[in-house]
Amino acid sequence: MPSNGTLIEIEELTKVFYTDEIETHALSGIHLTIARGEYVSMSGPSGCGKSTLLSILGLLDTPTGGRYVLNGKPVENLSFGERSRIRNQEIGFIFQSFNLIGDLTVEENVELPLTYRAGMPSAERKKRVKEALGRVNMAHRMKHYPAQLSGGQQQRVAVARALAGSPSILLADEPTGNLDSKNGEAVMRLLSDLHREGSTICMVTHDPRFARHAERELHLFDGKIVSEQEMKKLEEEAQTEAEA
């Protein structure tokens, strides 16, 4: 059993993709523990498995093998419906390209995950939306549509949407990938602020500057978690091999 401070506990996690008799081991024996309130970044070269790991962490995908305990509950073999419910209550997503719905206002976008939560009264939803938008300083744009906002503002709305459901963890997939450096920095500061306020964050990024905002940096290489030194060594070997 995890201690009270442990939010995520992963043991011997594997993910294999099968395409035309070819097995691709996207993740091989991952062990990972994330404590409540921790801010973790994951980085690595393209195809190293970081997005796959994030999808499994967010219950958007299921592992081929291993154990995944979220908030004290094994979640690796749940049905689609159960995963939907847990995702809705425990996880907040922040995407690289924001994924706001153009036909909905800022307020409606932020309210969206709450509408899938059975039994939550409308007044409660509105209150939470207001609070979440207040936390990202976007309350004054509630009635705007995404197209009327800048990229940085859109990502702040996306963060508010992730926060609105008071999730146990925020999963951010390259949250600054579609932003210029100024707006990217602003979003990173926002995530740091949220972390300071107690949020647990797991962020995928390939930008070392942003990775350093996290308390703990994880490095993935060929589907495994490696240390920073090991990572450098493996990258150099790969470089030499490519040049040969």
Partner: protein
């Protein structure tokens, strides 16, 4: 770039999207095809039923009395018209006779039209073979020549080119065949043979016998209204000169085309033609929808063309060329569909009904029909192409050509337009299906109106008794009595009776009546249905005699003539009085017919399908007052048509020269009477089903496109915790909304149209709530089923895959 370049590029574009092109061409082929078929039928029956030059200048002349505007003409009046009128270039007169043709295979009844020689001149009709008769042959003793109709020539003489000069025997008189009329000159449509009308001097001076139909060609520059005014003045003059016969009578002038068509045929054609145009609109909406979807994929191409300097008109022309090209290819396929449809319509129309439909046999794809099809294709191409083309022009080339990811997920104007088209399709389909259902329900009610009389167990036929041989009531009565006895003796026969009309078969004639010792106010007329029947008629149809007695053997020739009247007759003419014992007479005040003593009152029976309001009726005993023409009604325990050979044999044993005519079951008569309605209802049902299918495809397309366009959004919603049920519900809610809007618009449209055309929806209320509710449920079910497939696909989207476009 020339139009040729546009066409060549359009062809390449269609080759690039074979699926789209095939779907569009097939829908257009169906839409344009059924419209072409409908137009070809309408052209043949309503617009050009006769190949008569300047048909619009030919008019029908009838006498007008307070009872009817279509009274037949008296010869002496006709003679005065021809002498005194200045409105017409030429006049003709005709009458009809059923005659027995012998000496050319089995004896058969033929429909003869006796005409003045000018008949062919008025119609500018030229024979296919030989010649037509002249003035000199329209005199008694010189009139033994005949012109065959195309149908009789083919049917009885095997289209023999050597038929001219042959002798045919009609009612035991010999006639020499001098000509054959072409297929396109068949007036009246049921005519088998044209004979010279050779009136005697007495007939030419007769103003009391109304047996003829007048025909005339207007003088150049004279309108029908002017001719009508002149003829009215002329009739007034004749009424003053001959008050005994002409008082209260006028002349009705009507275009021959209107007279042939009657009031209902053009209306039904307009209704079903309107319905098939609706189907084409649904097709256009479908094509527009497909083109809108395709337009989204072609935005970069349009943007590139704009960037390269193409102006909006140029792009619009290119896109419309593609749309019109599609329609033209569809129209080519539509010609094939029309040919098949026409073939089906012709084959499904019973010959015994088709002969009463002028022009029906000329239905086909002539130059007018092909020109119509071409025009329809161009108009459809523009209708289906203009909105997608205008939408494509809204593309902003700068943003379209700029590479970059979308940050927000949303729908554009194309999607809104596609939704509008789907709503339009549903609305049109609802209106059409409701129209079809109303007409089918009404028709079904009428088709079964006579069921209480077991029409499936009754055989009917007529026997034409030649006037020369059966010239006295005694001879006719003897034939009737003997023939009925023979028929009753056949195995399986339960009743054999005579009657001129059967309930609901619209064969009963209305006549003026006179009630003894009761004068009528000037201008007021008393009338009743004239129904000669044999005594067993009431028992055969289980029509109770409510008061007095039925006919019996004592009612014979020479005994006091008697009548049985209907309940309505008694209520209308003897309110609060007992009608029994009173005397009535058929015909007006100048009638020479016998006074009839009322001996019974029969339960009300409707003789008209189209107007089922109770009508006063007078039954006379056919054995006491034998009519010159009547029908046999023979009921049997088995199949009535199987009885026909035995009946034929039984009557041939009395007189082999008298053939049985119009041998049909009562059920067939009822069925034939509703042919026009069945045709209209059948076409509406076909139109409705096609429109509903297209609407279902339309909403399927819109929802499938919506799901495709919103895949990432749906993935996102799933990532946010939406369940599969939430997504299914979201898509179905959207589909329900579109369906609901379409349904409301369609119901309103259907109600408006049904009320406008209420007179055509017989036997059913135009706002029948059952029909409206039933069709609304069916359309909703079909639309939701069509939406369920894309909704299910949406619900099975893998959120990870959907969001992996990052």
């Amino acid at each position: 770039m020339t139009l040729l370049n546009d066409l060549s590029y359009a062809l390449r574009q269609l080759r690039k999207s074979p699926g789209f092109a095939l779907a569009a061409v097939l829908s257009l082929a169906i839409g344009i095809g059924i419209n072409t078929a409908m137009f070809s039928s309408m052209d043949a029956v309503v617009l050009h039923p006769l190949a008569v030059p300047r048909l619009d200048r030919v008019v029908n002349l009838s006498e007008q009395s307070p009872l009817s505007v279509y009274e037949r003409v008296a010869l002496a009046n006709y003679e005065d018209w021809t002498r005194q009128s200045r409105s017409f270039a030429s006049f003709a007169i005709r009458s009809e006779a059923a005659m027995t043709l012998t000496g050319s295979g089995d004896a058969a009844q033929v429909a003869a039209t006796l005409t003045s020689a000018s008949f062919f001149h008025v119609l500018r009709a030229r024979p296919l073979l030989g010649r037509v008769y002249g003035e000199e042959e329209c005199h008694p003793g010189r009139n033994s020549v005949a012109v065959l109709s195309y149908g009789l020539w083919k049917r009885k003489f095997g289209a023999d080119l050597g038929v001219l000069g042959r002798t045919i025997t009609l009612d035991q008189h010999n006639y020499t065949v001098i000509g054959v009329m072409p297929k396109t000159m068949q007036y009246p449509s049921w005519t088998d043979v044209y004979l010279p009308l050779a009136p005697s001097p007495e007939q030419l001076a007769d103003r009391a016998t109304h047996s003829y139909f007048g025909l005339a060609r207007l003088r150049d520059g004279v309108t029908i209204h002017e001719a009508q005014a002149e003829m009215r003045t002329l009739a007034e003059r004749l009424a003053r000169a001959y008050p005994a016969t002409n008082a209260g009578r006028s002349v009705h002038v009507e275009s021959l085309l209107d007279n042939i068509n009657g009031p209902e045929t053009p209306l039904y054609y307009r209704l079903i033609f309107g319905a098939t145009l609706f189907v084409l609109l649904v097709v256009c909406a479908n094509i527009a929808n497909l083109q809108l979807a395709r337009g989204i994929a072609r935005r970069p191409e349009i943007a590139m063309r704009t960037a390269l300097g193409a102006d909006r008109t140029r792009i619009l022309r290119q896109l419309l060329t593609e749309s019109i090209l599609l329609s033209l290819i569809g129209a080519a396929g539509g010609i094939g569909v029309a040919k098949l449809y026409d073939h089906y319509l012709m084959a499904s129309m019973p010959a015994r009904v088709a002969r009463y439909m002028p022009g029906w046999s000329n239905t086909g794809l002539n130059a007018r029909v092909l020109a119509f099809s071409l025009a329809l294709a161009i108009v459809s191409g523009v209708i289906a192409g203009v909105v997608p083309a205008l939408d494509a022009l809204r593309v902003d080339p700068a943003s379209q050509l700029k590479a970059g990811a979308r940050s927000a997920l949303g729908a554009g104007s194309a999607h809104r337009l596609r939704s509008i088209f789907a709503v339009v399709q549903i609305a049109l389909a609802v209106a059409l299906v409701i129209g079809a259902a109303l007409m089918s329900k009404g028709m079904d009610a009428w088709l079964h109106a006579a069921d209480i009389y077991a029409p499936g167990k009754m055989l009917t036929f007529s026997v034409n008794l030649p006037a020369a041989r059966f010239d006295t009531p005694q001879k006719r009565a003897q034939w009737y009595a003997e023939s009925l006895d023979r028929l009753r003796a056949l195995p399986g026969v339960t009743h054999a009776e005579l009657t001129t009309a059967l309930p609901y078969n619209d064969n009963a004639w209305n006549r003026e009546i006179e009630i003894e010792n009761r004068s009528t106010a000037p201008g007021k007329f008393q009338d009743a249905l004239d129904l000669p029947v044999t005594p067993g008629y009431f028992a055969m149809l289980r029509i109770p005699i409510l008061a007095g007695r039925g006919f019996d053997r004592s009612d014979a020739i020479g005994s006091t003539p008697v009548a049985i009247v209907s309940e309505r007759f008694a209520a209308q003419y003897f309110p609060g009085e007992n009608p029994l014992g009173h005397r009535i007479r058929m015909g007006g005040s100048d009638s020479k017919e016998a006074w009839l003593t009322i001996v019974g009152v029969a339960k009300e029976t409707s003789y008209s399908l189209w107007d089922q309001t109770p009508r006063a009726a007078v039954y006379m005993d056919s054995m006491q007052l034998p009519p010159k023409g009547t029908e046999y009604a023979v009921t049997t325990e088995g199949d009535p048509l199987a009885l026909a050979p035995a009946a034929r044999k039984a009557l041939a044993a009395i007189d082999p020269l008298l053939p049985l005519n119009t041998v049909e079951s009562y059920a067939q008569i009822q069925d034939d009477n509703l042919t026009g309605l069945k045709y209209a209802a059948g076409t509406l049902v076909v139109d409705g089903v096609i429109a509903l299918l297209l609407a279902a495809i339309g909403i399927f397309g819109v929802m499938a496109h919506l799901v495709g366009e919103r895949t990432r959004e749906i993935g996102l919603r799933l990532a946010m915790g939406a369940s599969r049920k939430d997504i299914l519900g979201m898509i179905l809610r959207r589909a329900s909304w579109l369906t609901g809007v379409g349904l409301i618009a369609g119901l309103a449209l259907a109600l408006g149209l049904a009320r406008l055309t209420a007179s055509l929806f017989v036997g059913v209320r135009p706002d029948d709530p059952l029909v409206f509710a039933g069709i609304a449920s069916i359309v909703t079910a079909v639309a939701l089923f069509a939406s369920y497939l894309p909704a299910r696909r949406a619900a099975s989207i893998d959120p990870m895959q959907a969001l992996r476009t990052e």
